[in-house]
């Protein structure tokens, strides 16, 4: 059983480390801007000319860019586990009288915090420059992002707990993250994909996150909102179970 004080201690450590690592904080500010403007205005513009609704293509991909940026940050967060295991805090935590599920949940909440900070920044910039949203839409978006990042952070941590080198992590990451992004409908509607890709899209949890975000922000949707949330929740739950198991097996590297 997870213990609150254990989760809190791990989370607090992650937060302190995040704040002190200047590159991470600066990265949180810079990369969303790149995504938003480079991708949104120039490169992607030709891909989907028939964007419906207000704001054109930039508005259409806004939920997708939001997804992409948190996806990236949250999954990469799993890489720190590999470093941690070689030195510092992990040993100290592994030998402490807190359950592995607490350690896992503490790490997940740490990764979620990192990614959500970035998510909020994009959301605020986007709300002013691309798609105006109400406070209610803002909160709804954050809740969906929280669910998404719970899933993706868990996924990154599972990878980190089972892999032993940074190179291996980067490799697996490429095979997991990019397909999840490209087949999610973030950049163009799933309906425009060749039909043989459709099952991949439907099996991809990120598809439902993008759809849920688009429902909230633009009022466009492929699936009912409750279905999006239900499917994301199931995936998150499964990832959490797998994560706790992976952390249960975690040993010190040396």
């Amino acid at each position: 059983m997870p213990e609150l004080h254990g989760i809190y201690a791990v989370w607090k450590r992650e937060l302190l480390v995040y704040i002190r690592e200047k590159e991470r904080v600066i990265g949180s500010f810079v990369s969303p801007l790149l995504w938003l403007f480079v991708f949104g205005s120039g490169i992607g513009g030709g891909m989907y000319a028939g964007a419906s609704g207000s704001g054109g293509y930039q508005a259409f991909i806004f939920p997708g860019i939001l997804t992409m940026s948190v996806l990236f940050v949250s999954m990469f967060y799993g890489l720190y586990i590999i470093w941690d295991r070689k030195l510092d805090f992990l040993k100290e935590v592994l030998v402490a009288p807190v359950s592995r599920s607490s350690i896992f949940l503490g790490k997940v909440s740490g990764g979620m915090t990192d990614s959500l900070i970035q998510g909020v920044i994009i959301l605020v910039i986007g709300a002013f420059l691309i798609v105006p949203i109400s406070p209610l839409q803002f909160v709804g978006t954050l809740l969906v992002l929280a669910l998404l990042t719970f899933f993706t952070t868990s996924l990154g941590l599972i990878m980190g707990a089972n892999l032993h080198s940074q190179e291996g992590f980067a490799l697996v990451m490429n095979f997991v993250m990019w397909p999840m992004f490209f087949f999610s409908g973030a950049l163009f509607p799933v309906s425009q994909l060749p039909s043989y890709f459709e099952p991949i899209s439907l099996a991809n949890p990120v598809t439902y996150a993008v759809d849920a975000l688009r429902t909230i922000i633009l009022g466009q949707s492929l699936f009912p909102f409750y279905l999006d949330i239900a499917i994301l929740s199931v995936f998150s739950f499964l990832a959490a179970v797998l994560g706790v198991i992976s952390f249960g097996h975690l040993q010190q590297a040396k």
Binding site: A9, L87, D88, A96, P97, S99, Q251, Q252
Partner: protein, 323 residues
């Protein structure tokens, strides 16, 4: 019942490295037990298994009455560890490191803060408590690490080379504290070290480890008395065979005009020895140290071909200048 008990505890890395080889060991409650051995002997691996940080390959062990395989979380509730490799967090301040430690061990805020102050004082880091560990020297990190391991008052404390890289003053400080902890709180401690004086000074029992096995076990006094009590070094022409016939002499070896004699009770027997020896250029007397014991056992293991006398030639050769 022993508070730590290992039965055939084994750890194998890959096909070749047998880091810990069927270790049998009982440590009683309240003991300060020293694991003494050269690099690669398997000390850290043993401690890592007992702390539930790595799985054993075979065999069993229990700590504080709990099986390390079946009840790892119960084991963790009863132990503290000072790691050999630094594990304090660079991007946190000293105080923050201790604070998180206290939180992980479920210490209430008031108790936690009091202990943090106490521990910082102990290791002399009060002034630097709010600086990031990144700005600490190696010795300061080590001291912080020790403070952290002791902070939650564990029943069993593992100290893996605790004073490695410390200046003499900090080392004496930590020694004092270890003794106090043992005396006032009855904390059981397992200490690994390759400083002989440290083991001699702190430990009431010592296991000498080499190649994954404990090859000698006993109190420092017992271990030393197996070799003899004192060592006499004579410079000059000496007939070693005549010396060996004396009944208080355990061993005698010669090299480069120096005769090294291990004997019991030198203060009483020295005169008799010198009478047999006759005129020599110089005489030097000292007590047997754990260093001699160590050399005796590990030397025998590492250089089997040297046979019984191997260690002693090495004592003779290494002379009085031991590190």
């Amino acid at each position: 019942m022993a508070i730590i008990s290992c039965k055939s505890l084994t750890k194998q890395y890959g096909a070749k490295v047998l880091a810990v080889d069927k270790l049998d060991l009982d440590i009683e409650e309240g003991e300060v037990f020293g694991l003494l051995g050269p690099n690669g002997a398997g000390k850290t691996t043993t401690i890592s298994m007992l702390c539930t940080l790595i799985h054993s390959t075979s065999g069993q062990a229990s700590v504080a009455g709990f099986d390390i395989k079946k009840q790892p979380s119960k084991v963790r509730q009863n132990i503290g560890i000072v790691f050999q490799e630094p594990s304090v967090d660079d991007l946190l301040s000293g105080r923050e490191n201790l604070e998180l430690h206290g939180m992980l061990y479920g210490m209430k805020e008031q108790d936690r803060n009091a202990r943090i102050g106490e521990m910082l004082e102990l290791v002399g880091l009060t002034d630097r408590a709010n600086d990031l560990v990144r700005e600490y020297s190696g010795g300061m990190r080590r001291r912080l690490e020790i403070a952290r391991g002791l902070m939650h008052r564990p029943k069993v404390l593992f100290l893996d080379e605790p004073t490695l890289g410390l200046d003499p003053q900090s080392r004496t400080h930590i020694w004092d504290y270890i003794r106090r902890l043992s005396k006032e709180h009855g904390t059981t401690m397992v200490l690994t070290t390759h400083y002989m004086e440290e083991a001699d000074l702190l430990c009431n029992r010592i296991g000498i480890m080499d190649l994954g096995k404990i090859i000698a076990l006993g109190t420092p006094r017992e271990l030393k008395s197996k070799i003899g009590e004192d060592i006499v070094r004579l410079r000059g022409a000496v007939d070693a065979d005549k010396i060996r016939k004396l009944k208080f002499v355990r061993k005698a070896a010669q090299e480069d005009g120096i005769t090294t004699v291990a004997l019991v009770d030198a203060p009483v027997n020295l005169q008799a020895l010198l009478k047999v020896v006759g005129r020599v250029d110089s005489v030097e007397v000292r007590e047997v140290t754990l260093n001699d014991v160590f050399l005796h056992y590990t030397g025998k293991e590492i250089h089997k071909e040297e046979g019984e006398g191997g260690w002693f030639e090495r004592v003779a050769r290494s002379g009085g200048n031991r590190a």
